[in-house]
Assembly symmetry: C2
Homo-oligomer: 537 residues x 2
């Protein structure tokens, strides 16, 4: 009888807020003797990580960091950034891992817009943060990470956090699982990055659902390649303690370092953009024999080209494509291998593997919808619609941007901005990017941002930036420029100008001059420009 | 800044109530072509199961079943009971799977106490339900399952549920994940069974956490042996759709049927009480060669004896012990194998494998506490305390029994009633059952219930029922009886009297006569009786 069933309340014994902190709390206990983080000479067990996190959290609390405070971190993939994925949320605060490749202007914007109360920075990037402080005209407290492994010594003030007495007993959980735990800035369709907010519930389910969807056996050796400033490395810092895994760090994803880690640390899993796979395939360091057992590679950002899949196969790397966005905590679909693909010719097999795939277990629904009619496109592999997503691993919203949040969540879906078709087997395949984003070497570039810089150049009348296919990077930005009367065509000069104001990966790698094609209402027709560039190359 | 982070609300795109229904909704789509249920000639894909459940739910709704209504089901492990694990909760209702081995009196009590609004019964058990109706003096609507595979035809009225038009679109989820989805009666310490209530959130996390903790690869062939009226078969009906698994049914767990299923259906996983393992080891049907690859067996209810472990190993069965209670949705610890156990002598290995183990990933904490001091016992493998549990897979409470609920949840823990020690490696081992329960062949027996019957016998002055070790069943109930003056010692007569009022498995298998040892306050000292019985046997 409903009244009796609903009379039973949540109590401490039967209700615990979902949070990835619980996974560390458990791993400290049940996997305590196993290696958690390996980085050069550094080898920390889960018990060690638990102890460090208990101290660091206490240190943060003692510095006045608490619920809803933003802690910005600029740091490559080293153990410190992984442990901060627990310590910052455990203090009730919000981890804002910032892309280390960004220009000082954008870092300044993120620090300011994100209301950072503390910055933790790897000594290599201290100059970047200092420039950002200058731009903002304000300073906030800063702690510097010493990476002795790589000679980035700095002040090492981060280590003072470890002076605190460790928190004892069960690790503190958020009061509410809907509480924010991370803030990840994405370049979107507008020139200014948007702050995507994750909550504890989503981070918990992302980790648990990935363990199930990826069929994780216990004790993997996971190589940390996906930058943790991208979707928190797809949530792996939180998944590893569930399965008692070891994370191997190399600070930077140079192919020789990756291959050395494969061999020396017996890596079983890693994730990375197709550019990483490409670099591995081309590396002179790759071993003569394929890896046995094979290494599982998850790749995202673009479908792996058939040539790469073949090369990976012969190296002993099993590649599975995954798809997702910053707004979905990373991957929400996976191109799950089906037994009957084994019998296909290699071309047909590569075609199947180029699909973005099916919903992962923690995702409620991914569909391809015709935005006009609101209906599913037919499963014909041809009719295009937009990928929409619904589930508990969709962001809380954009920080301080209720308009963009409402727009992204129209009609009960998160709208991905990716044009796709649905195949008869239920696999999604992206056909076009509806949003104006260029993906270069796994990094998203907002064309609008680059155009903003171009428009500042005195010779530029009008500008449009589109993706140009590139063998190495997948795509690179290409500037299409309409010059002011009398101005000379100086591609090198325009690129140098952009380089002054933009991070290297955002700078156009080519400039095309000429009148820009426009609609009757004056809107630049980018698809015409893309076709033009395709023909020229 | 806290106010900004907390301004973001839950909307349809980013918040979905946790429910195992989501797993079926996804499996229908992404694993639709794979076999879900196999039973004799019956072979249903996940798409078929989805369609059936959409019709059955509609059929239930059309019969007035809705939120918070109890649907009682008396049925062995056949596909119908598995599909009802989705259809009943999808109607917003509560599935009450009743132990088919119970006597009519207890079934009558459960139907009445549980407020069943509809009974669904396998034709084999229709006479049992009719007796229960007689005892209660009331009838409720009844639908009869036809099991043509086994010749239990009956009226087959269950199939009329399938006449309804199937629900379309995404499968309906509960409005609130805290809503009840199942009601499972347990014999506890008191003579009357208690109704343990599960909620959707817990069922979701049980299934997801088990997939991660048991390292489930995709597409397992799971043999359904654990009765679904015990902890909903430990939640496996809900876990299988996550991993695209096939569940193989045999209706009853006879060893020849199990072994045939192992061979013919290439079973990869199953769960069962140690009695099942014992029967397999003794079966004349077992194949000469060990299973290769080995079959994964999860066992619960009692530690598997070393002799059984050895026999299982030589049959090609990997046995892992798990531990849990009806109140914890089934297993909450697992005796996770550690690499270094491989080097131990077989006796030492069996000793390790007899531990109840460590917390599963979805469990917040399991500890062993001294009830007096409220403190953890030392990790010395010797000091005894009580196992306590905290987490989202702990019951909502006991149905219509707030007193027992409050008692079970004292001081923020669920108190298991199991006395245990904690080993230096963090593994829990049960040493004594603090509650007065006898576990016989995987079934819990309340000694108080059996004593209640004994006290009705005209010759009995006082009675106490304790567990007696048994090679086949693990334990059997043994009646210790103090006779009235002048009464004759008639063990057979007393056992026959019990058999009239109790299910077969609850009937004492031995009667011991003599004065009962009592404390100064007159309480019977069961530990003295247990020792006495041990000495005699």
């Amino acid at each position: 009888m409903r009244e009796h069933f609903e009379a039973m309340e949540q109590v401490a014994a039967n209700f615990v807020p979902l949070s990835p902190i619980s996974f560390l709390n458990r791993a400290e206990d049940v996997h305590g003797h196993r290696e958690a983080y390996v980085y050069g000479a550094t080898r920390l067990t889960w018990a060690d990580v638990g102890q460090r996190v208990r101290r660091i959290t206490a240190g943060l609390l003692s510095r006045g960091i608490g619920r809803g405070d933003t802690v910005a971190v600029i740091c490559p993939n080293i153990p410190v950034l992984a442990e901060l994925h627990f310590a910052v949320p455990m203090a009730g605060a919000v981890l804002n891992a910032i892309n280390t490749r960004l220009e000082a202007e954008t870092v300044a914007y993120i620090l300011s817009h994100g209301d950072a109360k503390l910055v933790i920075v790897d000594a290599e990037f201290t100059p970047l943060v200092e420039r950002a402080f200058e731009i903002n005209g304000t300073k906030i407290p800063l702690l510097e990470i010493r990476d002795a492994e790589e000679g980035f010594e700095g002040a090492g003030s981060y280590e003072t956090l470890l002076d605190a007495d460790p928190l004892e007993g069960p690790m503190p959980l958020p009061e509410d699982e809907w509480q924010a735990c991370c803030l990840n800035y994405t370049s979107g369709t507008s020139g200014r990055p948007k702050g995507v907010v994750y909550h504890h519930r989503g981070a918990y389910l992302m980790a648990m659902g990935t363990a199930a969807g990826w069929q994780m056996a216990h004790y993997p050796k996971y190589l940390s390649v996906v930058p943790m400033f991208h979707c928190n490395g797809w949530g792996h810092p939180w998944m590893m303690p569930i399965v008692g895994g070891t994370t191997v760090f190399t600070r930077n994803p140079a192919p020789d370092r990756i291959i050395r880690a494969f061999v020396e640390e017996k890596v079983t899993h890693f994730g990375g953009a197709p550019i990483i796979l490409q670099m591995l395939a081309d590396s002179p360091d790759k071993p003569a024999e394929p890896f046995d057992p094979p290494i599982n590679a998850f790749t995202a950002g673009a479908p792996p080209p058939p040539a790469i899949l073949e090369k990976m196969g012969s190296m002993g790397l099993n590649v599975e494509q995954v798809y997702g966005l910053t707004e979905t905590y990373g991957h929400i679909t996976q191109c799950l291998w089906q037994d009957d693909w084994g019998a296909l010719a290699s071309g047909a097999q590569a075609e199947k593997q180029s699909y973005q795939g099916i919903a992962m277990p923690m995702v409620e629904e991914t569909r391809v919808i015709d935005r006009e009619t609101g209906k599913d496109v037919p499963r014909d592999g041809a009719t295009q619609g937009e990928i929409v997503i619904r589930g508990n691993t969709v962001m809380k919203g954009y920080y301080k941007n209720p308009e963009a949040t409402a727009e992204a969540f129209e009609n009960g879906w998160f709208w991905s901005g990716d044009g796709a078709v649905m195949h008869p087997n239920g696999y999604i395949q992206i056909k076009d990017r509806l949003k104006d984003v260029i993906i270069s070497g796994g990094e998203n570039i907002s064309s609008v941002e680059v155009e903003g810089v171009l428009y500042k150049h005195p010779d530029v009348q009008a500008a449009a930036v589109v993706a140009k296919a590139d063998d190495k990077w997948g795509e690179v930005p290409c500037a299409c420029v309409e010059l002011r009367e009398g101005a000379a065509e100086d591609a090198a000069g325009i690129m140098a100008f952009c380089r002054e104001h933009l991070a290297g990966f955002k700078t156009p790698k080519a400039v095309v001059f000429g009148e820009l094609p426009k609609t009757s209402t004056g809107k630049i027709q980018k698809f015409v420009l893309r076709d033009r560039i395709k023909e020229q190359s």
